[in-house]
């Protein structure tokens, strides 16, 4: 598994940021987009506007054409308690990547935050069949 840190862990003021494009390594079968929940304000709870949006686009032809929002997520602030009552360390979303033998695959992304927050935005790249 490879990890690509798009935005290091720090406080980010409200804004929109792009990252990439990155070339996707051969044989890579899955990409996981991760936003660490380090210090997210207690805003944007249910019924309110989300405070963070992260997505990636995918290209299969070296960046000529892009599949918009190949995968992405939005999240509210505060803590997310898991079933085991632990606090979720991150918001993630993962999706399989097609054409593992295609050398022209590329990824680019957008990181938007509606509130000041601390987070690390990264990509985890997996290889082989997970299931």
């Amino acid at each position: 598994m490879d990890k690509i840190v798009a935005y290091e862990s720090k406080d980010y003021s409200i804004g929109s940021r792009t990252f990439g494009p990155f070339q996707v390594p051969l044989k890579c079968t899955r990409a996981k987009l991760i936003a660490s929940r380090e210090n997210w304000p207690e805003k944007g709870r249910e019924g309110k506007a989300p405070i963070i949006h992260v997505k990636i686009d995918l290209s299969l032809d070296g960046g000529k054409a892009w599949i918009d929002t190949y995968v992405g997520f939005t999240a509210y602030g505060g803590e997310v308690r898991k079933v085991d009552n632990t606090v979720s360390p991150a918001s993630t979303v993962a999706r399989a990547l097609p054409e593992p033998d295609n050398p022209n695959r590329m990824i680019r992304g957008i990181f938007e935050n509606a509130e000041n927050l601390k987070s690390e935005i990264s990509l985890e790249l997996e290889y082989g069949n997970r299931i």
Partner: protein, 498 residues
């Protein structure tokens, strides 16, 4: 149209309020079925699913009946936008784990796309649902479960997608299978909690078997209807045309009769004979009524237009015969006869005048003698024609002139002329016609005097028969005495008086 699998897509997420991913739809009569599942101590409801920003319709939502930690929801949209577009699943709150995916199919009924869904939830090694479906339909499902040992779709099912959150051993997937009256869809799991739902989707135009039968029935019906309509349409169109163009049989008979009459009266039989033949042919084949009607109309038109031509043709024929006859010495008589014939048969004076004009043009071919004689005759006839109003009188005059003309080639011409005039006098009681006749004869005599002096000078001498005939004791002289009617009508200057 049979349902066909188009594409699938899926994601797995943690601690997100909303997840989104791209899905590409291709084809027609599309349906997009989304399975959105989540895991949490209290699994949140799915508040909405959109595709390309268009809302999708909820099919099912079920929570497992054991721990109540898993929720499975199903959503569909007919006619989704083709191409790569974003599916967005929004949860009421961020679940621990969300596993979502989609399958799209083509050939789906767009008005009644789905049947009755079935859902189930439990804690066992197999998740199962039963769907009431039909041949031609396709049953789709969506599973959300805990399965650290993995999951496996039912053997008869085709995998759409499968996702696993390894950290939590949370699994989800979608599959599909051909429809039947009763369909059981299953997933084998790891003896854990699961929430499962499914629904049959219906093909465009009904099930495959039903669709074929329905299509055949529909086509047969349409075919029969079309035949009937075509036939009816043709009949209506044909009848309309026939009605519009046909005349009654009586008209046909009248037309044929008229043409026949023309044939018998016309000199030029060839064109009319052709018409008769055509009409006869048409009459012999009465099935073709439209041509008959058209022919009748044409023949009627010909008949109407030929009426004038007939008269003229008759006159021309007569003149032609005159022309031929004039080449002989006795042509004048023939001319007179012809003119007489024309006068008797043609009512309108214009026709007579035309004839006279035609005859006048003939004189160019005549000898001097012929010209003189013809001119005199024409003048006489013209004079008579313009003066007389009664046909009987004209006929009588013409007969008289004809008699004169016929006698002129002999030396007794003048005597004959006098006799003729006498005859006219006896025949015509009205003074005005008589005066006209006398003037005409006078004109003839005046015109002929030059000729007489030259061509007949030797004949009309003191010893001529004519002179002898017109002597003091002649009948004419005796008849035209001072008390006669003729004498009173002939003035002092009349040549006849001399």
């Amino acid at each position: 149209m049979a349902i066909a699998f188009d594409a699938s897509s899926s994601i797995e997420a943690e601690s997100d309020a909303s997840v989104e991913w791209a899905h590409t739809c291709t084809g027609s009569d599309l349906i997009l079925v989304v399975s959105a599942g989540c895991y949490a101590s209290t699994p949140p409801a799915v508040s909405g699913v959109t595709y390309n920003a268009a809302a999708m319709t909820s099919i099912w939502s079920v929570v497992d009946t054991d721990s109540g930690d898993f929720r499975s929801t199903g959503w569909y949209k007919t006619g989704p936008s083709t191409g790569a577009n974003t599916i967005s699943v929004t949860f009421a709150s961020a679940p621990d784990v969300a596993i979502c995916g989609a399958m799209s199919f083509t050939g789906v009924d767009q008005s009644t796309p789905i049947g009755t869904e079935d859902t189930a939830g439990g804690d066992s090694v197999e998740a199962s649902i039963d769907l009431s479906s039909a041949s031609g339909e396709v049953c789709v499902d969506g599973l959300m479960c805990q399965g650290c040992a993995g999951i496996a779709k039912g053997a008869s099912q085709t995998l759409g997608w499968e996702e696993e959150d390894g950290g939590w051993c949370i699994n989800g997937g979608q599959s599909y299978v051909a429809g039947a009256a009763s369909v059981t869809m299953t997933w084998t799991i790891d003896n854990a909690d699961w929430a499962y739902g499914g629904v049959p989707i219906k093909p465009a135009g009904g099930g495959e078997t039903e669709s074929l039968a329905a299509s055949i029935a529909a086509l047969s019906s349409v075919s029969a209807t079309m035949h009937a309509e075509l036939a009816l349409g043709a009949n209506i169109a044909g009848v309309s045309v026939v009605n519009a163009q046909m005349v009654r049989t009586r008209s046909l008979g009248a037309a044929v009769g008229a043409v026949s009459a023309l044939t018998s009266s016309l000199g030029r039989k060839r064109p009319i004979a052709a018409t008769i033949n055509a009409v006869s042919s048409i009459v012999a084949a009465p099935g073709r009524r439209r041509p008959v009607a058209a022919t009748i109309s044409a023949v009627s038109s010909i008949t109407a237009s030929l009426r004038g031509i007939i008269k003229m043709a008759a006159s021309i024929d007569a003149v032609s015969s005159i022309t031929t006859a004039l080449k002989r010495t006795r042509g004048l008589s023939a001319i007179i006869n012809a003119v007489s014939s024309i006068s008797g048969s043609v009512i309108a004076k214009r026709a007579l005048q035309a004839t006279v004009s035609a005859v006048s043009s003939v004189t160019a071919d005549l000898s001097i003698l012929g010209k003189i004689m013809l001119q005199a005759t024409i003048n006489a006839v013209s004079s008579v024609t313009s003066s007389l109003s009664r046909t009987r009188g004209l006929s009588a005059v013409i007969n008289a002139v004809a008699s004169i003309s016929g006698s002129m080639i002999v030396k007794r011409a003048f005597q004959a002329a006098v006799n003729a005039v006498s005859a006219v006098s006896a025949a015509i009681t009205r003074r005005r016609p008589l005066q006209a006749v006398i003037q005409a004869v006078s004109s003839i005599i005046a015109s002929l005097s030059e000729y007489i002096a030259t061509a007949f000078g030797e004949l009309i001498d003191e010893t001529s028969t004519i002179t002898m005939l017109i002597d003091e004791s002649s009948t004419i002289t005796l008849s035209i005495d001072d008390d006669s009617t003729i004498t009173k009508l002939i003035d002092e200057e009349s040549p006849l008086n001399e």
